[in-house]
Subunit: 321 residues, 2 copies
Amino acid sequence: MRNPTLHDVARAAGVSYSTADRVLNGRGGVAMKSIQRVRQAIDDLGYRRDITAANLSRRRSYRFAAYVPPGDHGFFSAIRRAFQDQAEARAGQRISVDLRDGLDGPPADCDCAVLAGAGQDRIDALIAGDVPVVALVTDMPGLRAYIGIDNLAAGRTAGRLHRIAHRGRQARVLPVMGSAGLRDHRDRLAGMAEILGAESLLPPIEVQDNPDRMRDLLGHALRADPGITGIYSIGAGNRGLIPLMRDMGENRPFVVLHELTPHSRAGLLDDLIDVVIDQKPAEEVACALEVMKAIADGETPGSVTITPAIFFKENLPGVSA
Amino acid sequence: MRNPTLHDVARAAGVSYSTADRVLNGRGGVAMKSIQRVRQAIDDLGYRRDITAANLSRRRSYRFAAYVPPGDHGFFSAIRRAFQDQAEARAGQRISVDLRDGLDGPPADCDCAVLAGAGQDRIDALIAGDVPVVALVTDMPGLRAYIGIDNLAAGRTAGRLHRIAHRGRQARVLPVMGSAGLRDHRDRLAGMAEILGAESLLPPIEVQDNPDRMRDLLGHALRADPGITGIYSIGAGNRGLIPLMRDMGENRPFVVLHELTPHSRAGLLDDLIDVVIDQKPAEEVACALEVMKAIADGETPGSVTITPAIFFKENLPGVSA
DNA sequence: AAGAAAATGATTGACGTCTTTCATTTGCCG
DNA sequence: CGGCAAATGAAAGACGTCAATCATTTTCTT
């Protein structure tokens, strides 16, 4: 009934505990035929190492470092909070997370580090150390894994939503980027272009994720072209978009934007925007920690693609979620 | 640096390990002032019981029973598979899941049971025992918790999607239920009615989650009323819907249905249906196990509401997910 | 103040794995 | 066959908690 222990394996293989241990943990100095007998016994009994006992014995604790851009930038503050929550929730699992904002020099004193949505600039310094680093939110070459959404697919999804909303009518969708320099944003735009086609997609404007610039530039664009029937806000700064929609009233374009924040949530509830594509920061962070744990355990996990959530007014999660 | 142990707590409180243990585990026979000093020390040191060590010591293993309707009913076979996968994945966490199909008599020999989408009939027998039971997929009164989606919200979301797809035009949406006797289905229909209004919502037809009946009854309804512009398939049996849409070609109605299955996936990819609302069986099962674990640990977790995923052709997860 | 009851301390052996140390056996080589 | 290296076995002490036992001290009763 009880799960077999390594002692059971040793007995079944007809070797001593020591030898079974040497095989299991690859300590070497074991004859080939013993290795095979132990392996066989492990298979036969369906033995699985009791990780909790193992970690207890090793008094292993996972020490992670998380680099998250500073500021209460809406989205990244959600990421930051998610790290704090997760660190709290996993304290019993011997996982500790050290939140850092500056990224001066390679991470030290930790088993694995995670870098959330930073630019490419200082990455080299991070990789330089012998601490493995994974990417969160924004994929970056040279890191051990990427945890985040497929931005191309997100853009396609936004395109599909606009197509559905324009059934039969000619769409004229204005993409609003944070910056064309960001790969995430370019990917989303490219995804939308795949679905909508050039004739429906206007040239993008760039607002640097800034609400004020959003208000100014988008407001200007809307006045300049009254034929705009849709908006795809690719980055942040949506706080500046909401009042513009309020001013337009019934004739506002169909709006799809990213990230569920208090502002976008209110926008949905007030019928000022139509769809929010959310990358579920809490889930991303949880996945990131799993991946980091696996890396720290010596496994080589692949990247994890989060399927973004699509929110309308009607399926907003409660405040607790 | 190291996390404090109960020994540290005892030392800080100026009592013996035994007393600290008696306080921590509520064994009684401790003077009030000792209790307070231990509590204080726990707070001061930020002590948290090392659950892995505790479980190791108790040689606790969680034994769960899962009642899933038999048959390869598409959705429930996914649930079944998810239980198997999770059981496999959590074998190292001392969690074992016993999959049962019939529900004869109360569950025995387990710490908690989960009942997936069964009718109300035999529940009383299940509750009769002293094993706590939680509900999966279908909420049922009298059980300890419900893990599943908010069906009302799902119906509203489907309604919203139809509204978006009908912008400007009058919608005539035909709801296709499995059975009006199922609470889940009634809730979904009610949710859609909230959004669409009576003039856009046709009287529902019932196909008993059966592909053949779906084909017959829905085919008949579509021929009888060529003005149908939308379909909301609330239950299962969508395999019978796909060929009907293929026959209608370009003029097919806008289709929203539930559950991502091989058939509905193919339907999306072939542009024969438009939206799939999925309740993410794997995630539901994982949540259910977490809840059951918490219950077995003596906590009293609340119900968990899963936010369903919305899939278009463009954001289908890869086969691996 | 004696005796009973309550509270506390001290100790021990699990749980399953890790890790190290030391002794013993086996195989191989010349 | 002696000698040396490789392979194996045996044992023990962690890791932090649980759970039980027994001895001792404190507190309360009458």
